[in-house]
């Protein structure tokens, strides 16, 4: 079957390195929410791991962006490009995702509306994580206690938001029957032409019209 490249090797490497960092960050921060993670923090080494993972979490996208400025800008632009097809997608999404009926979904670009929502969550919460995290790490005792207190608050709000949305991202990307090739594409980088056509019509038309006219 004909296959199309969806994610470059570098993009996939970036994705999975961020996964590693995020898992480490979540585990070492979880004691703030779930007391049975408490013992993991008792000697404080979780704090060191959290910091190392935080450096990775920031450094990996920065390195990727420096190596691939064009695709990074495209990705950001994509996240902020919204139109009427997105509204249509949101309307039909519940029926579509519960598999209740065959509903015509508006044609989607490289990323569909849901994926763009996730991209926005990632961008927004990352900014909050980095700013509040830097305040708590480098500026503790330099900024007043009020600033520190609200930085802790912001960090936790970002975690709850990102965590809840991450569940959606992971489940839809791996076991949901609508996304048969999502996980595979982030591993191998490729999707079948059929999947591309049915899930990302606009993107499929755009890349095929240029190449194989």
């Amino acid at each position: 079957m004909q296959e199309i490249e969806r994610y470059s090797g570098r993009a996939r490497a970036q994705h999975w390195w961020i996964v590693v960092c995020s898992i480490l960050l979540a585990i070492t921060g979880m004691f703030l929410f779930l007391s049975w993670f408490g013992p993991a923090s008792w000697w404080g080494y979780s704090r060191l791991v959290h910091r190392i993972a935080a450096v990775g979490f920031v450094a990996i996208p920065v390195i990727y962006a420096l190596m691939n400025p064009k695709s990074t800008l495209e990705w950001i632009k994509e996240a902020f490009t919204w139109g009427k097809d997105d509204l249509g997608w949101l309307k039909s999404a519940p029926t579509y995702y519960f598999g209740l009926d065959i509903v015509p979904m508006p044609p989607q670009d490289r990323s569909n509306t849901g994926q763009k929502l996730w991209m926005l969550v990632v961008i927004l919460t990352s900014i909050i994580f980095v700013i509040s995290g830097a305040l708590m790490w480098f500026f503790k005792g330099i900024v007043g206690p009020g600033v520190f207190q609200w930085a802790v608050f912001a960090h936790d709000v970002a975690f709850i938001t990102a965590g809840a949305m991450l569940l959606v991202h992971v489940i839809l990307g791996s076991v949901h029957p609508r996304f048969t090739e999502a996980l595979r594409s982030m591993v191998t980088g490729k999707v079948t032409a059929h999947y591309a056509k049915s899930h990302h019509g606009k993107w499929y038309d755009r890349i095929t019209s240029g190449k194989k006219a």
């Binding site: 995702y97 709850i160 029957p177």
Partner: protein, 268 residues
């Protein structure tokens, strides 16, 4: 169990700092090397090694110079911000009301210090690595060094030669303190005040002051920070609900979708 407290009567204190020494001695804290700062007040600040220090103030009062002494240590709040934000359970309430501390559980995060309305906890946490621990007064309830459990008074109280520090049931000490405040008012100290009765919902260290708290350099109206309440009482419960609902929703969604679509009704 009836709550206990420490009563500090500033009007009886001579700033001998026996309490400071006794605290270090009993709790196995090291002396700190300091430099002459032009004051008898020493060391300059609380630290992981100094859980209690006396502050000495020279205050002008109608041309008369007064030398005022203030105890600086944990206030052992009833509604303690540090206990509220401590993520590991290292800080907890003692059955007698004190804010006790299990050093072995401390992760060194320092939230207690940043949220304490009295700025009491101190840490030796390394800024780079984040490794370290907090320390503060435990009202002599530290494991292995527990005087309270043995029925003794805290070391600072035990050593106080002037009766400025007393230990006992909170209710009793409140009565004693109020009586002393009335006595001081009659003697002409119009602003005499019993601090800790109402502050942050009540503290387990009470101060008899012969002037207003601000003159003594004590926080006038201490409060549990709004961020602590917004975080612990609002956002955290909401977080559990939000993540729980999303999780349940997803589970249902995937189950329904799989059932429907594997029957061939849906389009992949």
């Amino acid at each position: 169990m009836a709550e206990k407290s420490i009563l500090y009567d500033a009007s009886k204190c001579t700033a001998c700092r026996g309490c400071q020494v006794a605290c270090k001695s009993w709790n196995e804290r090291e002396a700190e090397k300091t430099t002459e700062r032009g004051t008898l007040e020493n060391p300059p600040d609380l630290s992981p090694q100094t859980w209690l220090k006396m502050e000495l103030r020279e205050v002008g009062n109608n041309g008369n110079l007064r030398w005022l002494f203030t105890r600086r240590s944990c206030m052992h709040c009833k509604d303690a911000a540090c206990v509220k934000v401590c993520p590991t359970g290292a800080l907890y309430y003692h059955p007698l009301g004190f804010v006790s501390y299990d050093r072995g559980k401390c992760s060194g995060c320092g939230y207690c210090k940043e949220f304490c309305p009295f700025d009491v906890p101190r840490l030796d946490t390394n800024r780079g690595s984040g490794l370290g621990r907090m320390d503060k007064c435990t009202a002599c309830t530290t494991f292995g060094l527990d005087r309270i459990d043995e029925g003794y008074s805290p070391a600072c109280v035990k050593t106080c030669p002037t009766g400025a520090l007393t230990y006992g049931y909170r209710e009793t000490l409140l009565t004693t303190g109020q009586a002393r405040v009335q006595e001081l008012i009659v003697k002409g100290y119009k602003n005499a005040y019993l601090y800790g009765d109402k502050e942050v919902g009540g503290t387990h260290v009470l101060y008899v002051l012969d002037d207003s708290p601000s003159v003594y350099g004590i926080v006038e109206n201490p409060k549990v920070p709004g961020a602590a309440i917004a975080w612990q009482d609002v956002i955290k419960p909401l977080g559990y609900v939000a993540v729980g609902l999303v999780g349940i929703g997803l589970l249902l969604n995937v189950m329904v979708a799989r059932a429907k679509m594997l029957n061939g009704k849906g389009e992949k």
